[in-house]
């Protein structure tokens, strides 16, 4: 029983930590290369435990929380994370059994798609088109994906959490 509760807290903890990581500033030069942490962690849980834990409602709530913290436009990240979770859940059965490099490519595609969504939302909100370097973030995120996946998986195994 306590094991189940502990794993629930672990799940919530990773999501909260991802939100914190999103806010932590990097040196100015590295700014555009910052990975989109909430999306990565959400993807991990979507692939790992599927709709037992992740559903669109949770992605929406996480996105609204991220928006409140980020203060750009309420609902922007909610929309992006919903789309991300939807695609990940729909193709979960295949994505899970991909070899790691294929999975990484899939994650890259998902995140690039996410950037396109962001671009569309920003364009509707009347903001400027970002410079080319702005597109670097999904690639950094995808490059980090195998490590994040293995790390979270390893920690989960070690703590024997669900």
């Amino acid at each position: 029983m306590s094991r189940a509760r502990l794993s629930l807290w672990w799940f919530i903890g990773t999501l909260v930590f991802a939100l914190l990581l999103m806010l932590v500033p990097l040196p100015h030069v590295l700014d555009p290369f910052k990975p989109y942490w909430p999306a990565l962690v959400l993807l991990y849980w979507a692939l790992e435990s599927g709709d037992a834990r992740i559903n669109l409602g949770l992605a929406f709530v996480l996105g609204v929380c991220a928006d409140m913290l980020n203060g750009v436009l309420l609902g922007e990240q909610a929309l992006r994370l919903c789309v991300l979770a939807f695609i990940a859940l729909r193709f979960r059965s295949r994505l899970r059994f991909f070899p790691m490099w294929q999975q990484t490519l899939a994650v890259l595609a998902l995140l690039v798609n996410d950037r396109f969504l962001l671009l569309i939302v920003r364009a509707f909100a009347g903001e400027a088109t970002p410079p080319a370097l702005w597109w670097a973030s999904p690639f950094v995120s995808a490059a980090l994906w195998p490590f994040l996946f293995l790390l979270l998986d390893d920690l989960r195994m070690r703590l024997r959490l669900q």
Binding site: P25, L73, C82
Partner: protein, 328 residues
């Protein structure tokens, strides 16, 4: 348990319910975005939930503060001595300049009172620390640790020791957000210090610089010209450095000159900033009632007693008028 679930959802799972749910959530997100864009819901919600949000900001800024502390702790002695020496020299120079300025400032004050203008060289400022928060790449905003409880209001200019940084756009109880002058949505009325040309400096769409897109083609603008705030528009007080012109070229349409400037303030390095309480003179003719001057503190004494503003400003505008009228 998960396996059983997967059998119900085959490899190419495509249930109508899932799609419907997606559409529902997307519609909700869009409604939220539109409402927020129209009515600024986000900030009202943020203000309501600030009791949760502000600690998160403090928590997220811990690593950068720790890094700063560590860099001081592990900096070698020679570097610190050098820095100390440099600061001493700067202080000496600044003090010398200040001494010379004081007489000029007093003279200026007297002349201004004679002219009955509501402006002074005294600054009423409030110090604030920058909270290291990442608002996403290219967002041109920053968070400072003074908020509504410290008397910060939306629209107050924020400066550092080198020049104008931006203005407060949103206020939480203990922190507030500053829009930097380089934000594409930001515009600041400036005047060329050399020629007196008045124009508007916008934030630029690419990179950390300012754009001055509509300078008349016959105007004399050169690389290296300093830009100061012009005080027009009633938001930024007059005479603060804004930037320095780095390039001038005809614009794409050929109708205007377009200049690019770099901001004088250290936008990404500063960790302590000043919030100005003196507002610019309001645009347009002054209101007729004598007690409706700008809230700046004109008392000749240095503005060390900041909280006591309402008292002097209520009877202040009467006194220059009473001294000014008999003399003219």
């Amino acid at each position: 348990m998960p396996l059983a679930r997967e059998e119900s959802s085959p490899l190419f799972a495509g249930t109508a319910a899932g799609t419907l749910r997606l559409i529902f959530y997307l519609a909700m997100a869009m409604v939220l975005m539109v409402l927020d864009h129209r009515n600024g819901w986000l900030w009202r919600m943020r203000y309501a939930t600030s009791i949760v949000i502000e600690p998160v900001y403090r928590l997220a800024s811990l690593p950068s503060e720790g890094l700063r502390a560590a860099s001081v702790a592990f900096a070698d002695r020679r570097m610190l001595t050098d820095q100390n020496q440099q600061l001493r020299e700067d202080l000496l120079l600044a003090n010398a300049k200040l001494n010379r300025m004081q007489a000029v400032a007093q003279q200026n004050q007297r002349l201004k009172e004679l002219l009955d203008t509501q402006r002074s060289l005294n600054l009423r400022v409030q110090m604030a620390r920058v909270i290291g928060i990442d608002f996403g790449a290219y967002s041109h905003r920053m968070m400072i640790n003074a908020g509504a409880r410290d008397g910060v209001k939306t629209g107050q200019p924020v400066i550092d020791s080198h020049g104008v940084m931006g203005q407060v756009i949103d206020v939480l109880p203990n922190s507030s957000t500053v829009m930097l002058v380089t934000d594409p949505d930001h515009a600041i009325p400036v005047v060329d210090a050399r020629t007196g040309l008045r124009t508007v400096a916008y934030g630029s769409r690419a990179g950390d610089q300012l754009t001055l897109p509509n300078i008349p083609i016959a105007q004399d603008v050169q690389v290296g010209d300093k830009l100061l705030t012009s005080g027009l528009g009633g938001r930024f007080p007059e005479g603060f450095p804004v930037g320095e012109i780095r390039s001038v070229a005809p614009s794409a349409t050929g109708m205007f000159l377009e200049a690019h400037a770099i901001p004088s303030a250290d936008l990404d390095r500063t960790d302590e900033v000043l919030i100005l309480h003196d507002l610019a003179e309001p645009a347009g003719p002054p209101p007729p009632s004598p007690s409706a001057g700008p809230p700046s503190d004109e008392a000749p004494a240095p503005a060390s007693s900041a909280p006591k503003v309402p008292l002097p400003s209520s009877f202040k505008p009467a006194s220059p008028a009473s001294t000014g009228v008999p003399q003219t």
